[in-house]
Symmetry: C2
Subunit: 395 residues, 2 copies
């Protein structure tokens, strides 16, 4: 039978990152392709203690249906943290718990987008977000990402040229895949442009807590006086990614629409783990735990960066992230799919930079991750990687 | 600011069932409005044992990202159960784990529907499904539900009149809200019509395991030789609804599309609880546990049915379910919203039958639930309910 597939969905391909999994079973392969947090970043023993307490005293409610908006104590804890630590929750805002940060992006997309609408984003950007917009039938338009954040001239041009733009999607801090952080001056200009052209900013901040050097930059959300910024994040990189607990906040009117969609999407997020996160926040010191992750990633990223500095041909550029999970390596020539394959032949897995492009374009970059490999794998693997790409550009 | 909301989403209202929550804090109110399983149906102590085992030996993988399709051992256990117990999984099928049964409906809707497409369904039917279709911009067309299932003449008429119909959504067993089970003869006719008119059947079977009298009827999925039936269900009514673990199966080509959408929706379902369900299925006897739920609901439904038989005016009809959670009461005259309000005044909560209509129509029915109230609440509450509606029709 020929199935009648939705027009919006037809063109959406599974993430290329999934394709890489095919190679993961190759013996001796060293992977820098993951986007996973280090398993050391999960406070498993403390989570076990909280979980057992829930089974002991609150099992009936933890295993029963809950409200679509989420577990109220957890919502209040997150609101307080956003207010006090990030100045990113105003009196006109509301917040819902989402099934991971990804669902926050998806709900915001579904609440706003009709087929043919445009989403403007950094190029390159997170493939999961691009696909959420594409599934809604939206067109994704990329704006060049410079070393200090999105190009402001490029952004204004894109806004002028795309009157159907509804959302400006940004990962301003430790961006995926580039590791780049947008400077404060640019955040202000981005906010002004969004206001001028009447688009909503969707600020995705899954890595914001993972700064290991430099100084914090205020969120775009903290600049919002007009109710035009939606903000999503999650506990995936600081407690557990597998539990799928994130949140989305923003102007109440938009969040109300997202609640209606979430109800028809998954009713609510796993309630037991919402209560577990809430219990963890109450009983333990999340900031102290985050500090250990920052130290771990500082060590791992430093190891990778110095190996790249020592090994790469000077014509090959790479980013120097101050937090997050990724380094973005750009060759002076070549094709990223080719580079990916050349690395795989040497048993090194990286992610083909083209994966992250909002629209097809030439690309000679690849993404490297330092949170998942061991220190030994970083030393050994980056050495092979450097040799491989140094050879590649001499072909 | 005036927000540019998606056209598809504009018309979708939050479920009226949520509205009822406002009244839930009224002191002395007895609620038959829930759709919740009884907390007694959650094997909390056994789940606690499995959970602690996962924390002890598999914490790193349970808290880490997993695959979008779901935890492979659990998928295999469900496939085996579907094959062996329900003859509802063929060699051309694939299965993915979903965030509750609701996400199965939503993914199938998003994979297939474009704005303006039509979904044909029983009238009345599950509001959560109606809203999933509406969020996609689809039109929902209802076909009369008779005592033995959907009207076959009505279905053929609807299929003829709606060439843009893509999905036929059915809850053939212990339907929500009616409690009605479609007889085998009708299931065969429904399948033939779906084939003739080229629509996919989405068979929703969340209550199928909860039969407490009568004989099992084969699923529509078990009749499928052409690859035109998608089938969703969940563990919400037999292990825990709060954990949000369900599944969707059907022709591989359609499931592949659903995987792409799920990846952009929530990446994957809570992995810890997927492993927990898998461990429970391995270690404990699910069928023995289900038997205890059946006995519980047989007792509760019998109590409600005999109270209705004794108390209701003979002109008021109600269904006699052989399983599931609901009884559907139809008055010979009146308006369901009025009836709902009259009951609330007497501190009895029911669900306004209009909530479940695919398109606006006169309605004098309400839904009653027997799984959540205590036996005492059923006795006391149904007595008040009968008096109230008996008076109502005499006005």
């Amino acid at each position: 039978m020929e199935y009648k597939i939705s027009e919006n969905v037809k063109s959406v391909k599974p993430s290329a990152i999934r394709e890489i999994f095919k190679y993961m079973s190759v013996p001796g392969l060293i992977s820098f392709a993951a986007g996973n947090p280090s398993p050391e970043s999960f406070p498993a023993e403390d989570m076990r203690t909280v979980a057992d307490g829930i089974f002991a005293t609150q099992a009936s409610s933890a295993l029963q249906y809950g409200s679509t908006e989420g577990y109220t104590p957890l919502r209040n804890q997150i609101k307080d943290r956003l207010k006090n630590k990030f100045n990113s929750f105003s009196e006109n805002d509301e917040l819902i718990i989402t099934t991971g940060g990804q669902q926050g992006i998806d709900l915001c997309a579904r609440a706003m987008l009709d087929p043919g609408d445009v989403v403007i984003c950094e190029s390159p950007t997170f493939i999961g977000a691009l696909n959420a917009f594409r599934v809604c039938g939206a067109k994704t338009v990329g704006v060049e990402l410079e070393d200090d954040g999105i190009s402001i001239d490029g952004l204004e041009k894109a806004l002028k040229e795309n009157p159907k733009a509804k959302i400006l999607y940004l990962i301003p801090t430790f961006q995926n895949p580039s590791g780049i952080t947008t400077v404060q001056e640019k955040r202000k200009k981005v906010y002004k442009l969004a206001k001028k052209y009447g688009v909503i900013v969707l600020e995705d901040n899954p890595y914001g807590e993972l700064r290991f050097s430099g100084k914090d930059v205020p969120t775009v959300k903290s600049l919002d006086t007009e109710g035009i910024v939606m903000y999503c994040s999650s506990f995936s990189k600081i407690l557990s990614s597998g539990m799928r607990v994130g949140f989305l906040c923003g102007p109440k009117e938009l969040i109300d629409r997202c609640v209606v969609i979430k109800q028809a999407n998954d009713v609510h997020t796993n309630l037991f783990f919402q209560m577990l996160v809430s219990g963890y926040l109450e009983k333990y010191d999340l900031d102290a735990h985050i500090q250990t992750i920052r130290e771990l990633y500082f060590k791992k990223s430093s190891l990778m960066i110095s190996a790249l500095e020592n090994g790469l041909d000077p014509s090959i550029r790479f980013t120097h992230p101050e937090g997050g999970l990724f380094v973005w390596v750009t060759l002076p020539k070549g094709d990223s799919t080719d580079i990916f394959k050349t690395c795989i032949d040497k048993k090194i897995a990286v992610v083909d930079g083209k994966t992250f492009l909002p629209s097809p374009a030439p690309c000679s970059s690849v993404r490297l991750n330092y949170s998942t490999p061991t220190d030994q794998q970083i030393s050994d693997g980056i050495s092979i990687f450097c040799e491989t790409v140094n050879d590649y550009i001499k072909r």
